[in-house]
């Protein structure tokens, strides 16, 4: 385990030192282990390429002269590109542009899978556009390569063919009506004479689109438009594409974004990652075409048009082979539970299939629901908290993962784009050097927020003026900015909160009106852990109980417990103020006030519907727009994975945009935020955040003196401090996390919970194998299928020992009850079976206790009254009377079957060898 931690540190160092080197040959030892609050992950295969090709590896050289032949142009080259265009490009991106020239870095280029990488650049000279702002931008997209002479993908292609690029469906930063964001070849003279022109010889101005050629050779070309965002392109569309249409440079000529790499699974038109079953390639390409408004005026086509293609930067991307998957018609061993495992399961399931030869099925659901279902019929669940009371008897717990709950963010920090006379004041930097240092480190996204429990409590309880929507000053006078009518004025926003500023002196940039975090509706143990943390924190708990912070800020009264337990001296005055605020608020007619309770027994993140925006009425008094409720304004998303998705897409969870054109007119989701003005916070799991390389907040103690971000190390430190519970084998986070020691407070252990009473030996054997895998191979950090993906920490030695013990117990259960091979060992002694034909299933196949039962015809003789079920099911002493209607395993006694089958297979395989042997 220490090795893993060391590797993480090493990888971190490598990130700094390897920029500019070519692709490394060896696979990184623990790639993906260095996930953390910064969001970005380092690797030892980062590659930097320069526009002037200096130091570029051969695969990334794009000649800027007559040797740079351009595909589909009848052998024209860079030298044939319009002079004005070339001059503009060279002045902006060439080595003499005053910034040293454009260079672009991809954070990882080896062993790639479906993941995010960081694409960053610098040295792109800012060119002011017609709107007075910088107009220098990059278009970044993924291409699969080139078709060989034989009509098959050419594994040795020296450069990508623009026809193989996934572009033109319009990315989240694109505009469907802009030709630059399409596959348009508009007016590009270089197309003349090339094969693309032949596709539409009647088009006089080359006003035509570039086709898309998929890895399988299919060619898609929209005849009557230029973009492939439409349904008619089967390979990618606006929902699935990973292209960036307009990656704008900062005022310093740089930028950094996370880019989703897609394998053949996500983008079957690209087929990146060798798959023996399908057309595919090991090497795909990341292509970046740099542009400015001045260049667009010369050539307004999309980046695939030859004149602009000539300006590109290209980086080969080496993908892992796609993982083998189990045949999907195999009956899966079903399990369900903790959504914190969703990301890990996607990696583990193919790994388990390959290594342990069975299909695991996993359905994420609320931990609570999973715990309620655990029983002989449903013996395998995953949960953070143990089962309570009688339901917890005969349950075996095996730790399988260390996860974390995080506050993830996508926040563009305009404070860091340019140093002005206002920067120090607005952003809180001590001096220009501090600003420069921050800018260097964080690029254009906020990556270093700190929260304590009370700040999170404030965000979750609509306690800032800007979060009191849809209330208005008229309906809720206490939300009036600056009003002293109810005592200390309500704090306007997170940024204006002195507590926040103390922790985050550099502020939040443009994100002044950031909404409360996007949170899930599912009642998960992860959500419970958030509230446990807030309630275990003295300041957090006091705030929820109505006590003011140091600056006098109090909770929105509709979210207050009004117990004032931590400030009894002020209780009377505070409660009078809260009562007055409530009394003066015009609440919706359907609202029923009740004091809040924490933790809530109603919702994962309780929401008070204390205000609404009144319906908009027509002249005749009928309703034009219905009331806008708190739930519309701050909607819940399904689960933590959805919260992370909202964050990476900068999609606020708000259904508050009135759509009058809709049939019928209705409130619809607000649009995504544009790059440069993004500000979305969410509460999600560390793995979902790491999947998108989202920055996450550091969590601080009450005093704000020690802050810890979620990393593999901080999760493990927290796990070392886990405390025992009343349930054997189950540890839970300490109430007071050791911040100073670097323990991340929201660390979640996830346990496999097995109901051992009535457990069939075949199931016991499968589960033993499962936990054995999860405690060994499944804890190796990395991107490959079967490994522990970023966002989790390997189990500590103590937890792992606990899993090993569980494996042994299960193996004992499996061994104690051998599977009968032919006849049932237990014959029913009572209850005549009118339809029995001797076909009673072997006991091992059915959950013990169900036993053979007679056909319920009602016509057969009834057994004596009160016959204990046990007499008909003498299989298991501790058997439960529960009888499932379906088994989770396939319904075969695997041991017998496996032996015989194995023998048969061995025989078949041996046959050719025998022949061979004979020949020699």
């Amino acid at each position: 385990m220490a090795a893993a931690a060391t590797a993480a540190v090493v990888a971190g160092i490598m990130a700094v030192t390897t920029a500019g080197t070519g692709p490394a040959a060896a696979a990184p030892a623990a790639s993906g282990s260095d996930w953390g609050p910064q969001g970005s992950m380092a690797s030892d295969s980062a590659v930097t390429v320069r526009w002037d090709n200096q130091g570029n590896a051969p695969g990334s050289v794009v000649p800027r002269d007559e040797t740079g032949l351009l595909p589909h142009t009848d052998a024209k080259s860079y030298a044939d590109v319009n002079t004005r265009l070339r001059t503009a490009a060279e002045e902006t991106f060439g080595p003499d542009n005053g910034l040293g020239g454009l260079s672009l870095t991809v954070s990882q280029t080896q062993n790639l899978q479906n993941q995010a990488v960081t694409v960053s650049f610098n040295g792109a000279k800012p060119v002011t556009g017609s709107n007075g702002l910088n107009s220098t931008y990059l278009q970044v997209f993924q291409c699969w390569g080139a078709m060989g002479e034989d009509g098959k993908p050419d594994p040795k292609a020296a450069e990508p063919d623009p026809a193989t690029c996934q572009f033109g469906a319009v990315g989240p930063d694109g505009d469907i009506s802009t030709s630059q964001h399409q596959r348009s070849l508009r007016n590009d003279p270089l197309v003349k004479g090339g094969d693309w022109e032949q596709l539409a010889p009647e088009s006089t101005k080359m006003n035509l689109p570039a086709p898309f050629q998929s890895i399988g050779g299919e060619v898609t070309r929209i005849e009557d438009g230029f973009n492939l965002s439409e349904f008619r392109n089967p390979f990618f569309n606006a929902t699935t594409t990973n292209e960036h249409s307009r990656f704008l440079a900062s005022g310093q000529g740089d930028g950094s974004r996370s880019f989703e790499l897609q394998t053949g699974t996500e983008a079957s038109g690209l087929g990146c990652g060798l798959d023996p079953e399908a057309p595919s390639v090991e090497t795909c390409w990341l292509v970046a075409v740099p542009r400015t408004e001045a260049m667009d005026e010369v050539q307004s086509a999309g980046p695939l048009s030859p004149s602009l293609w000539a300006m590109r930067l290209q980086v080969p991307l080496h993908f892992q082979p796609t993982a083998a998957v189990c045949p999907s018609d195999d009956a899966a061993t079903l399990s369900s539970g903790s959504e914190a495992l969703t990301v890990a399961m996607k990696s583990w399931i193919p790994g388990i299939c390959a290594d342990r030869k069975f299909t695991l099925g996993f359905s994420p659901m609320a931990d609570l629901q999973a715990r309620q279902q655990l029983g002989p019929a449903d013996p395998l669940k995953f949960t953070t908290q143990p089962l309570e009371g009688d339901a917890g008897k005969d349950v075996l717990y095996a730790p399988v993962a260390l996860s974390g709950v995080v506050v993830a963010m996508t926040i563009d920090n305009v404070c860091t784009t340019r140093f002005t006379e206002y920067t120090l004041k607005d952003c809180g930097y001590a001096n220009e050097a501090a600003f420069e240092a921050d800018r260097e480190r964080s690029g254009s996204m906020v990556r270093n927020l700190k929260f304590n429990a009370r700040l999170l409590a404030k965000l979750l309880t609509q306690s800032y003026v800007v979060h009191s929507a849809p209330a208005s000053v008229e309906t809720a006078p206490f939300t009036s900015p600056g009003s002293t009518k109810y005592g200390v004025p309500m704090t306007f926003s997170l940024q204006s909160d002195p507590e926040f500023k103390r922790l985050n002196p550099t502020g939040l940039g443009s994100a002044a009106n950031m909404a409360p975090p996007v949170v899930e509706g599912l009642r998960s143990d992860a959500a419970a852990a958030v509230w446990d943390w807030i309630l275990a924190d003295d300041a957090g708990r006091a705030f929820l109980n109505g006590c003011p912070d140091e600056a006098g800020m109090v909770i929105n009264p509709f979210y207050s417990t009004r117990s004032y337990a931590e400030c009894p001296d002020q209780a009377k005055d505070l409660d009078a103020a809260a009562a007055a605020k409530i009394k003066d608020t015009k609440v919706p007619s359907t609202f029923n006030y009740a004091k809040a309770n924490y933790p809530s027994d109603s919702a994962a993140y309780p929401q008070a519907y204390w205000t609404e925006r009144a319906p908009v009425l027509r002249e005749d008094g009928s309703v034009d727009q219905p009331a806008l409720t708190v739930g519309d304004q701050y909607a819940r998303v399904a689960d933590m994975a959805a919260a992370a998705l909202n964050t990476v897409r900068a999609q606020p969870a708000s259904t508050s945009q009135w759509c009058a054109e809709c049939t019928p007119a209705a409130f619809k989701s607000v649009p995504r935020q544009g790059y440069g003005g993004r500000s979305v916070l969410s509460i999600t799991d560390a793995a979902s955040a790491a999947k998108f390389q989202l920055p996450t907040a550091q969590l601080c103690d009450t005093a704000g003196t020690a802050c810890v971000g979620a990393t593999a190390q901080s999760l493990r430190t927290a796990a070392a401090g886990f405390v025992k519970t009343e349930v054997a084998g189950v540890l839970q986070p300490a109430a007071k996390p050791d911040y100073r020691d670097g323990a991340y407070p929201l660390t979640l252990p996830v346990y496999g919970a097995v109901k051992t009473a009535g457990l069939a030996s075949a199931d016991a054997k499968t589960f033993a194998s499962l936990f054995d895998y999860l405690s060994t191979d499944g804890q190796e950090q990395g991107f490959r299928a079967g490994m522990l993906p970023p966002g989790y920490a390997p189990l500590t030695d103590g937890l792992q020992a606990s899993t090993v013990a569980a494996v042994k117990s299960l193996q004992a259960v499996a061994a104690a009850k051998p599977v009968p091979t032919d006849k049932p060992t237990a014959k029913p002694s009572a209850a005549p079976q009118p339809t029995d034909t001797g076909s009673t299933p072997p006991a091992g196949l059915l959950p013990a206790g169900s036993g053979p039962v007679p056909a319920g015809t009602g016509s057969g003789p009834a057994p004596p009254a009160g016959t204990p079920a046990a007499t008909t099911a003498p299989v298991e002493p501790q058997a439960l009377p529960g009888t499932p209607t379906a088994r989770t395993s396939g319904g075969w006694p695997p041991a017998t079957l496996a032996i015989v089958l194995g023998a048969a297979l061995a025989a078949i395989l041996a046959a050719p060898l025998l022949v061979r042997g004979k020949r020699r």
Binding site: F231, R232, E266, S268, D275, E277, A278, S280, P327, S328, G361, F362, S363, P364, M365, L368, Q369, D378, E388, A391, L522, R523, T590, S602, Q607, P626, D632, A635, V637, A638, T663, P664, A666, D836, S839, P841, S850, V853, P854, A855, G856, T857, G858, A862, T867, P868, A869, A870, L880, P881, T883, T885, T888, T896, L897, V900, A904, I908, A911, R919
Partner: protein
């Protein structure tokens, strides 16, 4: 059992085994997307996540059935999911989009529309609420506005219901759940529906996908299943309607609904399965609504275990190449839908749905075959499923509704559905054994014996005296852990006490056969229950096993020499030709 059947069994079993051992099929399944029903959204999410682990990417958005059908008609998505068809009596004039290509419907999951509510009892949550269908109609048409109204208290003797206004939560977006709910109102309580329409201005002769709330002060409309669920969880005195899985996901109680037999039931997988034996399935394969459901006989079904507000949800797929679907996409759609229909059904009960009966699985697979591009591998899997059902003996998709050897229309969940303890032998008799209802639709024998008892007038039939008496009234539902504790199945109480509790309180006799409590999986169990499991008859697992083992031994003996000889021959041939 005839000899030929045995041989067929061997062949089928061996085929299956080797199909299972074959490597993963050529699986470069292209990414596809669909949208629609949020009622079925949790089921779709489960399937999407599970095929994701198999390396197949499918996107699904729970945008509501109306949006789903529109996006499908507009060729924006490869499939839609909806509770209602494009045409027919559930169609809403506001939903005016129609595909201009041929399409088909296939049922993918069953479920119950649950009435989640938020009431307090002392410091805890009230979780024993019982509602008659009449009360539901009155509440959701705005005629009963207080929780302590007689219509509600009549079903909840001894429960202190508050003198508070009922906060009725409905969907604001176009929803199949709303369409099915208003159709139920229209059919079962037409005068109440007329009153609703009188106030709100809706059409009293037509169901609607958009719940009318105009002028109803105690109604609030929220967006999507997530919206109504969140609103209800956070607001006291609320009640909503949506699929059971949403209440399950946040551990909230739902109303026990009084069925036509006078018993209070929850939308468990069993109760839904029982009810849907009465769903009339459109059996005209030429109709564009082939396999669509008519629930009018479901509402008033007299089986004491029936949950009256049960329904199927459907996937709508193109049956010809369209702008949105080429053959490669059709191949993925075939893979995904087959997965959902087969392996995907097994987890449905856990999530709060009810698995499809086997006859509808088979009919749906036949529909799926019409999708252009469904590949050989998927067709082979569907063939195997069909063969395993007709030949008997092999685990056809391990579908919990199906017992090898039985008719696919016989639903095991119906046979094993627990009875309320207050339903004694005579009360149970019509519904068990020979009387057990079978599913309708393709594959049904047509001799739906359950129907004979279902003839009585639906809905208006008022409760029998027995339902109020006995343990049913007192048991309450724990809404989770507590409920599970009460159920003998989920607790660890001895088998003897479990058995006794399941027997009739008056006579002390158990109705039939051995007493086995139902597997309570943490749902709100009403009462200690007893049920019977059909014994194994026909082609059982042991026989099958023996045959398979025998077959394998045979293979073990015969295969190596045969294969060796064959290979030798080929090598010889190659040598000769070379």
């Amino acid at each position: 059992m005839t000899r030929s059947a045995r041989i067929a069994g061997i062949v089928a079993a061996l085929c299956l085994i080797f199909a299972g051992l074959a490597p993963a099929q050529a699986a470069n399944y292209i990414r596809i997307g669909g949208s629609g029903s949020s009622w079925a959204g949790n089921a779709l999410q489960d399937w999407v996540s599970r095929v994701g682990a198999q390396g197949v990417t499918v996107d699904y958005e729970s945008k509501g059935s109306s949006t789903g059908r529109k996006e499908f008609a507009d060729s924006m998505k490869q499939f839609a999911v909806s509770e209602i068809p494009y045409t027919g009596d559930t169609a809403d004039p506001k939903d005016n989009s129609r595909p201009n290509f041929k399409y088909g419907m296939l049922p993918v999951v069953a479920g119950g529309t649950a009435y989640m509510y938020n009431l307090r009892a002392g410091s805890g949550r009230l979780d024993t609420l019982k509602l008659s269908q009449k009360a539901i109609a009155k509440i959701f048409t705005g005629q009963v506005t207080k929780w302590n109204d007689k219509v509600i208290t009549a079903d909840n003797p001894g429960v202190a219901l508050p003198d508070a206004t009922i906060n009725v939560v409905v969907r604001s977006d176009g929803s199949g759940a709303t369409a099915q709910f208003t159709l139920w109102l229209l059919r079962q309580f037409p005068s109440d529906y007329a009153k609703l329409c009188q106030v709100t201005g809706c059409d009293p002769n037509s169901a609607t996908s958009f719940f009318p709330t105009k002028g109803l002060k105690n109604f609030v409309a929220q967006n999507g299943s997530q919206g109504v669920t969140t609103y209800t969880a956070n607001n006291l005195y609320t009640i909503n309607y949506d699929e059971y899985s949403y209440a399950r996901g946040i551990n909230f109680p739902v109303a026990q609904v009084k069925n036509a037999a006078g018993f209070y039931t929850l939308p468990t997988e069993h109760a839904v399965a029982v009810a849907l034996t009465q769903a009339r399935i459109n059996q005209n394969p030429k109709s564009e609504n082939y396999l669509s459901q008519d629930l009018s006989k479901v509402y008033g079904y007299l089986d004491p275990r029936s949950y009256p507000m049960s329904a199927y949800s459907y996937m709508i797929v193109p049956t010809e190449k369209t702008d949105a679907l080429n053959e490669a996409q059709g191949a993925t759609l075939g893979y995904f839908a087959n997965y959902a229909l087969c392996e995907g059904q097994r987890s449905m009960g856990q999530l709060g749905y009810s698995p499809l009966p086997m006859n509808l699985v088979l009919a749906a697979m036949d529909q799926l075959r019409k999708v252009p591009g469904v590949d050989k591998a998927t067709r082979a899997k569907m063939d195997q499923t069909a063969a395993s059902v007709s030949k008997g003996g092999t685990p056809a998709c391990n579908n919990p509704t199906f017992k090898p050897g039985d008719s696919p229309a016989l639903n095991q969940l119906v046979r094993s559905a627990p009875f309320d303890a207050a339903c004694a032998a005579a009360c149970r008799a019509p519904w068990t054994g020979e009387g057990a209802a079978e599913n309708q639709g393709p594959g049904s024998t047509g001799a739906n014996k359950g129907n004979k008892a279902a003839g009585a007038k639906p809905a208006v039939k008022q409760p029998t005296a027995t339902a109020q008496a006995g343990p049913a009234g007192a048991a309450g539902n724990g809404g989770g852990a507590a409920g599970a504790g009460q159920a003998p199945a989920a607790g660890t109480v001895g088998t003897t006490s479990g058995g006794t509790a399941g027997c009739d309180a008056d006579t002390g006799a158990c109705a039939d056969g051995a007493v086995v409590a139902a597997a309570g999986t943490g749902t709100q169990l009403l009462t200690p229950v007893s049920t019977t499991i059909a014994g194994s008859n026909g082609w059982g697992q042991t026989q099958l096993l023996l045959v398979v083992v025998g077959g394998l031994l045979l293979l073990l003996v015969l295969a190596p020499p045969l294969l060796a000889r064959e290979l030798e021959k080929r090598r010889a041939g190659r040598r000769n030709s070379a």
